[in-house]
């Protein structure tokens, strides 16, 4: 099995530790991982702003980079969902269709493809799990509170395999953090208020860390936490599952 690692642009630039943890974790689990050096972005920043017609270049590049792999894995539910729903290519639609079917967000790849049942990791902290909307409602990584259906959580079940993790309950289990791509600046007032409210829920319930399968949400909440000079930290789920070093805090 050959897995192509897709590290979205802002993770590449801002959160290399999450990307390194994703790579190490997959390697630890016996996967052969390739990282195509020519990759950039999934095109979502343009598409969600109404400029999907400008994403052709990004799409072709994505297809060139990832067509050869058995699976494509990314530590971002939102970017994975965008590829799954919107990747097309004038040059090679067949390859694009293939990628749409074989792209996975990291935690669903671990639970559904690798069928991971135990992890060698320890993280003795109170952790708030933020269910990122695109991962949860788009990729169905966890049951949605709106539906009358049995509960499950792929990221939650993986965190349950990590020694010492204490998941804190939240008052609103799956409310959006307000990032929303360009929404975060175009609708600054509402976006920031949503971020503040989301962070407050985690803090009130005693979280020391906020984790998620999406760094865009974490970046947003980190922005709020830092401005508030809060001691609560954000950490990508890959870092916890990979056995983050105790010195992080």
């Amino acid at each position: 099995m050959r897995v192509g690692l897709f590290i979205p642009c802002y993770v590449d630039q801002f959160y290399p530790n999450a990307a390194i943890a994703t790579l190490e974790l997959l390697e630890k689990l016996g996967v052969t991982v390739g990282y195509p050096a020519q990759q950039t972005c999934c095109g979502q920043p343009m598409a969600n702003s109404g400029y999907e017609h400008l994403t052709g270049g990004c799409n072709d590049l994505f297809v060139d980079n990832f067509a050869e792999f058995d699976y494509v894995v990314s530590p971002s539910g939102s970017c994975a969902l965008h590829i799954k729903e919107h990747l097309h290519s004038h040059n090679n639609e067949e390859a694009a269709t293939g990628i749409r079917k074989k792209i996975y967000e990291l935690t669903e790849f671990l639970t559904d493809v690798l069928k991971v049942e135990k992890l060698d990791a320890k993280f003795p902290h109170r952790v708030g799990l933020h269910q990122s909307c695109h991962g949860q409602r788009g990729l169905k990584l966890a049951q949605m509170t709106e539906l009358t259906a049995s509960p499950f959580s792929k990221p939650g079940s993986l965190l349950g395999m990590v020694e010492g993790v204490e998941l804190v309950p939240l008052n609103r289990a799956d409310e959006c953090c307000g990032f929303g791509g360009t929404f975060c600046v175009a609708e600054e007032a509402v976006s920031a208020k949503m971020g503040k409210d989301r962070v407050a829920d985690h803090i009130q319930n005693g979280a020391e860390y906020i984790t998620a399968a999406d760094l865009s949400c974490l970046m947003h909440m980190e922005g709020i936490l830092k401005r508030q000079k809060s001691g609560v930290k954000v950490i990508h789920i890959a870092e916890i599952l990979n056995g983050v070093k105790e010195t992080v805090a």
């Binding site: 950039t40 972005c41 007032a189 970046m219």
Partner: protein, 453 residues
């Protein structure tokens, strides 16, 4: 005119009020969850409703003709209005023919959409809204902020002030029961003195020519039964094929709207009582255009429960008036651009595309996907921000080229400069309430070349 972002910014100046508004509507969302989770087949019920409406929209002209014929057979007079203006003229002409200058109205979002009150007032006709929430916003000279809970943006103290001014309640009186009683006495007199009543329509049954109006206050019945003339205004999408379909829709509507199993009154109107005139005005007002838009057709399945508003984290924190249209919230944001793409170009962008709206929708409208699609249409039609277009072109160019991306990234974290939340600009909205992440010393790509290649 101010857009959604600007109006929301004003709304957010009073953070405590935003918290109150958010929690009030979240409470309604929780009631909806409790009610829907008690029905084991809830998801199947939603699917059934969605399919029934799919059938209706696929055969709309047939069902409309069937409904018209049955209604006429029942003794109802049927009118067709192509747009809001024609609807208003029809209503006015009926009133004029009877020499009526005062009308009582039960809550109808369609007449809000058509701005009927304003039109009739210009013609010298006095309209009293009889739904308590509608009455409050009417007295306050405001539009409703929510399709089911029209004055949800008002605190009880503010309602007390309005009633003191207009209905003569004691100054400072804010007890909901006392205020409701004040409104009740005022409305009782209105009901008794009005010869014409206008109601909305929740469901119109093609098979029987009857229509159903759902209220909690019984005000539709009170108005209709005491009047000589009953006018029912309905959008052409309100049809359902058979009476038995009500078994699906009545179970869904109020559980989705307020968490009640059903409204207190589900009133069926089939024929005028002896001596009464009953009219139905079938209104298009853009609906057949929307029906022709394949990507947005499903929006016409809407039964106006308001669940998408109560669950929307943006609506809860921006208030209904920030949408500057009769139907606010997520559903309004996919309906309004159909009516006027320029005026409502901002609304499809007033969302994080979190998808909660689509999950609560009792007729399974893919609301968040339509928001995404409207964005594409609005930009293509040229209603987007020109400055943003240039930035998007530059971004697309850079992200299409790994080489330029890498150089740009190295030269100071390109993403920091060019993503919307740019660094080094004090005017950047990101910075008003949020900090940026610390820039790492190297990107993952750089780390990978050193450590793995």
């Amino acid at each position: 005119m101010k857009d959604h972002a600007q109006l929301s910014e004003v709304f957010n100046k009073d953070e405590q009020r935003v918290d109150w508004h958010d929690e009030t509507l979240w409470f309604v969302r929780q009631k909806r969850d409790k009610a829907s989770h008690q029905i084991p087949d809830w998801e199947e019920l939603r699917e059934a409703a969605s399919q029934i409406k799919h059938n209706v929209l696929s055969n709309l002209s047939n069902y409309l003709e069937q409904f018209e014929q049955q209604a006429i057979n029942n003794g109802i007079r049927v009118h067709w209005a192509a747009d809001a203006k024609e609807h208003n003229h029809i209503v006015h002409s009926i009133l004029k023919r009877h020499g009526i200058s005062q009308m009582v109205k039960s809550k109808s979002m369609l007449t809000e959409e058509c701005h009927l009150n304003h039109y009739l007032e210009e013609q010298g006709i006095n309209v009293v809204d009889s739904d308590l929430g509608e009455l409050i916003v009417q007295l306050a000279k405001e539009p409703p902020s929510h399709i089911v809970l029209p004055c949800i943006h008002k605190k009880k103290e503010e309602i007390g002030d309005i009633f003191h001014e207009f209905l003569g309640s004691a100054k400072g009186e804010a007890d909901p029961q006392v205020l409701t009683e004040t409104a009740r006495i005022h409305l009782r007199n209105t009901f008794l003195s009005r010869r014409a009543a206008l109601t909305g329509v929740n469901f119109a049954v093609a098979e029987t020519g009857e229509f159903v109006v759902c209220t909690n206050e019984g005000n539709a019945d009170m108005g209709a039964h005491l009047s000589d003339v009953h006018i029912a205004s309905m959008g052409i999408e309100k049809l359902i094929p058979k009476r038995k379909d009500l078994g699906v829709f009545l179970r869904l509507l109020t559980r989705s709207a307020t968490g009640q199993p059903i409204t207190t009154y589900s009133s069926h109107f089939k024929r005028p009582r002896p001596g009464q005139e009953m009219h139905i005005v079938l209104v298009d007002n853009g609906r057949s255009i929307q029906l022709g838009r394949e990507d947005f057709r499903n929006s016409l399945k809407c039964i106006r429960c308001g669940a998408c508003m109560n669950t929307c984290p943006v609506y809860r924190r921006s208030g209904g008036h920030s949408y500057h249209t009769a139907v606010a919230g997520p559903i309004g944001s996919i309906l309004a651009p159909n009516l006027d793409m320029k005026q409502y170009a901002d609304l499809p962008f007033a969302s994080t595309l979190c998808g909660s709206c689509s999950n609560v929708c009792p007729v399974k409208i893919d609301i968040h996907e339509q928001l995404y699609k409207w964005r594409q249409v609005i930009i293509k039609e040229g209603y987007g921000d020109k400055k943003k277009a240039a930035a998007m072109q530059a971004m697309a160019y850079t992200l299409s080229s790994p080489k330029i991306y890498r150089i740009a990234g190295k030269a100071g974290r390109w993403v920091m400069k060019h993503t919307p939340f740019a660094v080094g600009n004090p005017l950047n909205p990101w910075y008003k309430q949020r900090d940026m992440p610390d820039a790492p010393k190297e990107s993952f790509g750089e780390w990978y070349r050193k450590n793995r290649e």
